[in-house]
Structures are given as C-alpha cells and as structure tokens.
C-alpha cells in the first residue's frame, strides 16, 4: 500500500457493529459479540471469533501437584465465559454517543476520521467479579493499538495468566518473533538468548500430559504467517502475515493451535483436536512454572500473579506489507 498522508479512516456506523476501513484493511467492531469481530487485511480475515481477555493456562504438572488449579479454578470459568458490559466509542479522541439505532440514524456512511477507538469493558464470573477494559484505537495506516487493563480485586485467587487471546480461522504456517530463544517463563528465562526466531508450523511442546507450553517471554514483535483462509472464494495460497508489536514493555505470547481448555481436556496429545486454528495469546502477565518439586511446592512468590493488583499493558496490531 502506498501511504497517503492525508488519508482518513472510513467509518460505517451500523446498527450492530462499527466498521472501520482504510485502503486495504477493513475492521468490524461488534457491540453484539463484544469486541473486534473482523480484522481483514487485503481481503484476508484474521479472526475466527471475537478476541477476549484470557485468564487460564492449561494446568501444568506443577500446578496440579501444588493444588494451584483447585485454588484458582474460578479463573477457568472466567476464561471460558465472560460478559462484555459496556462499549465506549470515541472518534478523533472525542467520545460519541453509543452509535446504535436510533442514534446512528444521523450518520450517512460517509463519515471519516483520523482515528477511532472503542473501549470494551468485560466482567468476569468470578466471585467477586473483576473488570477488564480493552481499548482498541485504529489509526489511519490501519495500525490498531490495544490497551488492556485488569482491575485488581481483593478476594480473588492468584491468576494463572492474564492477557488477550486471538483465535485465527486457519492454522498458521509459522511465526517469527523478536524475543528470547525457546520456551520461556518468568522463572525460567535466564537461558533464553535474545534474537529473532522463526518457528515453522505451530508446534505444541510434547509434554506427556498436554499442558501450558510454547510461552515466549520478553517479546518485542511477533509476526504470524498464514497461507489459507476459510473464504470459499479465496483460492490464493500466497502467504500473508499479521504483526503484534509491544508498546512500551515487551509482551509475552504463545502461538499454538489450541486454547487452554482444549489442552486442559486432553490427557494425551493424540486426544487433542486436529490442529485447524491459530491461537495467539498476547499476555501481560504469566505465572512461573515452578520446579522445586511437583507435589506441593508453589511457584516462588515473585513469579505468581497477584489478582488483587492491577495489570496493564499495550501492544499494536499491524498488517504486514508484502
């Protein structure tokens, strides 16, 4: 795409969604599904379902041994079932009245803006409930800034993980990231060598019992590459990519074909579904794996996630120009 300095975003104020489009991208935010429902670049869709905050990691053997999953199990429910309670839309930095009917009757389909942002509020089903705000800001060049904020709540058990989970429609052919070598965790990252690494396919570390895996700490950039879509009219097999970039502090990510729940359910790898999607988790906090023993010793306190404290981080999503 040729950058045009004075180009603006086109806004489509639908009855259920807000469409945002530029020269070769088109995004749809949904009030109904509670988030970003479509992220299409050059005609290729990147989202299978609306991304939501994620709170669960598939129980590791160490988690199981020290009873962590029992103690923190309510986060599994939060991960599976979350409610979007509110959406706030701002155009060019100014909050607008929620543009659903009849408010949106005033629009024409010819609205343009330099930027548009949507802040989704989520409420967990934990007791007590916790709140998360996810703010997407779309810029003229199509870059989406994502700011994620978890509001700490007294009385909630330690978190397994916190971040945003993106499920892509088809299985990626691979990914490239700028960060640390290998699979790293907060308490197991000293051996990670900084660099840029390409991973072919979507490997799932073959721990005997499927469990949380393929986590990469301290990442500046992640590029996911796919070759296929679910679009029946799209027979093009040329690869295409999407990039996640840290804003401020580096993020942590994993990129595998399964959700935490799919991993959690399997006692062996052969019980996992056929890999057909790409599950990218862009994480603000990750619990350590521990290692003192596997029958009681907890992860060291500094590598646990205190759910009573706020967690805040940000990243951008960018299309990759070929």
């Amino acid at each position: 795409m040729n950058a045009i300095n004075n180009q603006t975003l086109q806004l489509i104020f639908g009855d259920v969604t807000l469409g945002v489009s530029g020269e070769d991208f088109h995004y749809i935010f949904s009030y109904q599904t509670g988030g970003l429902e479509s992220l299409s670049v050059a005609g290729k869709e990147w989202l299978y379902r609306t991304p939501k905050p994620t709170f669960w990691r598939a129980t590791t053997d160490n988690d199981r041994g020290n009873g962590f999953s029992y103690k923190s199990g309510m986060w599994l429910g939060a991960d599976l079932f979350i409610k979007c309670s509110n959406v706030v839309v701002a155009v060019d930095g100014k909050k607008v009245e929620k543009p659903i009917a009849p408010t949106n009757n005033k629009y024409t389909g010819k609205e343009h803006a330099e930027s548009v942002s949507l802040c989704f509020t989520y409420i967990t089903n934990t007791v007590p409930a916790a709140e998360v705000e996810v703010t997407y800001t779309v810029q003229v060049d199509g870059t989406i800034e994502v700011k994620v904020h978890y509001y700490g709540k007294e009385g909630l058990p330690s978190l397994p993980v916190f971040g945003m989970r993106f499920i892509m429609p088809t299985k990626a052919v691979g990914y490239t990231y700028e960060g640390l070598s290998g699979e790293t965790y907060p308490d197991r990252m000293a051996g990670g060598v900084p660099g840029t690494y390409h991973i072919e396919g979507l490997p799932v570390t073959p721990y005997m019992v499927p469990q949380d895996c393929n986590v990469h700490m301290a990442t500046k950039k992640l590029t996911v590459t796919r070759a296929t879509t679910l679009n029946n009219a799209d027979t093009d097999k040329t690869t295409f990519s999407l990039q996640f970039e840290a804003l401020g502090e580096p993020f942590t990510f994993s990129c595998i074909p399964y959700t935490a729940e799919e991993l959690e359910n399997a006692t062996h790898h052969e019980e996992l579904p056929l890999p057909r999607r790409t599950v990218v988790s862009i994480l603000g906090k990750v619990r350590g794996v521990g290692g003192i023993d596997s029958w009681g010793a907890d992860v060291m306190p500094q590598y646990q996630i205190d759910a009573t404290q706020d967690i805040s981080y940000a990243f951008s999503i960018k299309r990759v120009l070929i």
């Binding site: 290998g182 790293t184 907060p186 197991r188 000293a190 005997m208 062996h268 003192i292 023993d293």
Partner: protein, 626 residues
Amino acid sequence: MNAKMTWLDDPEVFGVNKLAAHSDHLFYPSKEEMLKKESSLMQSLNGVWQFAYANNAKERPIDFYKPEYDASGFGSIEVPSHIELNHHDKIHYINTMYPWEGHIYRRPVKEDTPEGIGLFSEASYNPVGAYRTTFDLAPGLRNKPITICFEGVEQAMYVWLNGAFIGYGEDSFTPSEFDLTPFIKEQGNVLCVEVHKRSCAAFLEDQDFFRFFGIFRNVTLYAKPELHVEDFYVKPELAEDQRSGSFGVEMKLSGKVVKGTVKIYLRDQKGKELLAAQMPASEKVIFAPVTLEDITPWSHETPYLYEFLIEVYNEANVLVELVPYLVGFRRIEIKNNMMLLNGKRLRLLGVNRHEWSAKTGRVITKEEMVWDIGCMLRNGINAVRTSHYPNQIPWYTLCDEAGLYVMAEVNMETHGSWQKMGAVEPSWNLPGSDKKWLAAVLDRAKTNFEVFKNHPSILFWSLGNESYAEENIAAMHDYYKAVDCSRLVHYEGVHHNRAYEDRISDVESRMYARPAEIIAYLENQPKKPFILCEYMHDMGNSLGGMKDYMELFDRFEMYQGGFIWDFIDQGLMVNDEVTGAQVIRYGGDFDDRPSDYEFSGNGIVFATREEKPAMQEVKYYYERYK
C-alpha cells in the same frame, strides 16, 4: 542340588551358586583380538529364545528345563527384552507404592515374623517366564572353563543347563554369573531360565519406574584361558600436590595350575610407558604401589585416562591372556567440611538418570547411552547419579571417557515400606535393622563395588535410594569404608532418621529441599558438605526457579551442587488403538491400577530423546557455574 521355589520367599537366599562378583574387565587371548576389540573367548547368547508365560509358579511348565521336554508349545521372545513389552502380562507404572498394592496384602519375612513361606512362590498372581535356548559353543570357547553372565534379569531367576540345575539369582541390576563347566557340551546345549516377576527382592526394588520382569540385559558366555584374571583392583592415587602419585594393583587369578608370570604396563595417551612390572602368577597377586611423577589428573574438564594392560603368561612363557583397561588418577576428599576434587572445590552440576528407551523400556543400546552422554556434555552437565540401580556396564566406561562424575547407586529402594502417602511411617521399614535382610543388602553393596571399583568416574558409592536408615544401611556404609578409601559414601535417607547421621553418609544429602531449608542448614554449624541428590523436579513443563539454587554456590562453600530429577521421561511409545499412530503413553494407560500416572515423566529430555525446552536453562546455569 535342586531348585526350591521357596527361595523366592526367603530374604536370606538371594543367590545360589553365583560366582563372586568381579571387576568388569574384558579379556583377550591375543594381541590381535585385543586391538580389534573382539574376543573369541566371548559368545553372546542374545537373540530369539523359546518362551512360555505363566500367571504363577503353580501354572508354570515345571519340567521345561529337561532337555527332552517338548517345547513345541512355546512361543518366542527376544533376549534381552521386558516380558510385558512382548504382550505377556500387564505393563504397570507405580511410584512408591509396592506393585501389589490393593491386590495382595504382604508384609516381609523378618526375624520376629518368620512366616511368609509362599508369599511369592504360592501367590496366585506372580508371573513366570520360562526361557529356553539351544546353542553350540563357538570355536574359541571349546575345551575351556565356561561361565555364563546374566547382566540383568528382573527379578529372580533359576538357571539350568542340559537338565542340571546351575543356580539362582536375584538383584535385578547387577551381573549374575554361574559356572557352566561341569555340564557344558560343544554342541546342542539346552539352556533354560525361569524368571519370576516378584520375589522377596521386590521389597528392596521399589524404584519409581515401570515394573517389568524378564531377561533385560545381555546374556554372555565367557571362556577362561588356562590362566585368567578373575578380578583386579587398581589403586591409582594422586597425591596432595596433584602431580605425583602412585599406582598399585591387586588381582586374583584362576587356572588349573596357577603358575607363570603376570606383567603389567601403564601407558599415557601418547604411548609413553610410566610403569612396567612383573610378578609370578599366583591366585592372589599384589603389585605394591609404585611412585609416579607428572601425572595428568582425571577430571570433567580433562578426562585423562591411562592405558593399563595386564599380560598373563603361562609356565612356558606363552602369552595366554591380555586385559586392557582405562584408569584415571583423581583425588576426592573432604577438607574443612568441603568436598575437593583434585584439590579444588567440587561442584556437582548433575542429573539423575534412569535407563530408558521409549520403545524398549530399560533395554537400551550403546547408541542411546552415547547420545545421553553427548546430551549431558553439550548442556554443561558434569555429574550423573545412576538412579536407582547399577547401570549397564558400558555406561561407566563412557563416563570415564567423558569426564562425568558418577554417583554409583546400589540397587535398593524400599520406599513403600516407610513412607505412605507422603508421610514417614517406618513401622515395618526395610532393610531396617533386621538380621534376615542384612546379607542381601550387603551383597548388593558388594556387587556394585566389585564390578565397578576400577572406574575413575565414580566419586560416590550411594547406598540406595529412599530406604530409610537403620543398622543394615549403616553396615553397607561400613562395608564401603572398609574396602575403598578413594571415594565418598552417599546416602540421603539418613535425613529421615537423624539417629544415624554420624554413622551414615559423608555428605548431607537432601532431595527437593527448598532454598530456604538449605540456607537454614548451611547457616547452622553444618557438619557435612551439602548436596541435593535430587532437585528441580522437571515433571512436564517445569524447571522454574533454578537461580535460587545456583546462587547457593556463591553464598556457601559447603553447598556443592546437586542432581536434577531427572534425565529422560519414562514414556512408552505404542501404536494408538484408534489411529494407529505412534504415541507416548505413561502410567495408568494400560489399565494398570493403582498407578501414579504421568509421574513417570520428569525428564529434561522427552522419552523420544529430544531435549525439552527447559534444557536451555540447565545449560545456561550449569555452564556459568562450572
């Protein structure tokens, strides 16, 4: 003599007609064969044998050992292999519980409870494998005394040759050797072995692993030349100056007439002769220590080995046997409560290792051993604990050559006898102080020593794993102290019975102690240097927080490292019953109950011998703390 099934029940019978354990040397009739490393005095009996399975001793084919027995109903089995992996008897993984938990009530025979006859021999479930093979003697073995060596048979075996009872053996992980000479023929020998899954030895072999049985290591015939070195014990000593030292050797010879000459040579890697000496042959030959200068010490960094050679000449001065062996000079000692190797503080950057192959269980190849060594070396590992039994013989030589420090463990674990559901409850613990069990455990200690005593890589004799601590383990400790002053003795279990702490173990050894607990020990007038014989339990996705352990090296000189638990996941590769694909299975996947399920997988490498992601963390810290 006739074989008695009740030996299975009696802790005081752990071997019948077994030859004395001896050094693990190979021997050659000529220089040519020695250079080719192919001895015509050896004959492997590995291969396909006839085989029949029975659920218990009563149902076994009792007469199968008779040469005239019609074995046409027998199937076949590969030797070596585990019987369970041949689809006889259920595969079973269990950790600390005894394998009969929930199936059979058992308490061991003891001094005050001598009942127990039939505990194993009359059990309704105690499978038996009947093995049968026929062989001709290879030309190099004819007209000579013949012994047979079973390097590993789990868990009790009876041997017959040509219808004659040869012997009985327990102790699954050490060689059992028998004399076949009176009954051997040049052709058409019928060798029969009856292997029982469990005997009272099971009480001593409660290791955390898949519970297999069968002939799972090599079976080899050896012919002895007219004069033969039965055993030798080299004494390479490195003095405090770390440069000079001495070399002596004691040996035992056999032969119809033990007369002739024994010559010994010691050469460095460039072929330079440091020592040449000779003595008249006799049943016991002692070469007194000779002082040597400019020795290159053996260590992890420089695993320098010297070539030691024994030549045996008969009365007519004809060379009849050559015994080559690699020896190393190193000095392990405790000074000011710190372990020193060659004068320097020893840092153990170790790993525990079970012998394991995803396809064949504890039947592993030399190639797999070589891979394991290479993996350890490239990841900064400098020490290995043979958890929890003596390993295959070549492993120790590979460690000598690679410079890996070995903690050589006796085949003993009685975990289920004193710890139940995590709680220490030693009301019927073994081996305890019970006289009926003393000889068996001393024999296990002795065999471990006698077979491996010449390996420089062994720095520690370990009295076994998780077997509590009372008089019998103290006796094992005393045994090692009496026979070997060139190594330290290790035992962790004394931690659970402090009454013995001054009598057992040169080191304070713990497993899975938290960093704060280690600090508490080291800050409170510690009596012994501290090591972790097991730490960093790498089950699944784990090995977090290694830093807190490694930094102890910087804070405390008496913190001397540890052994990660463990090297390789014990997972079995099988064909998926749904898709046919090759998949990894673990405890409980074979309808085996009770089980400890995935607790069998704690490796820093997967069962398929691919490194786990955590390995880069091991490498990072171990290379920094060398």
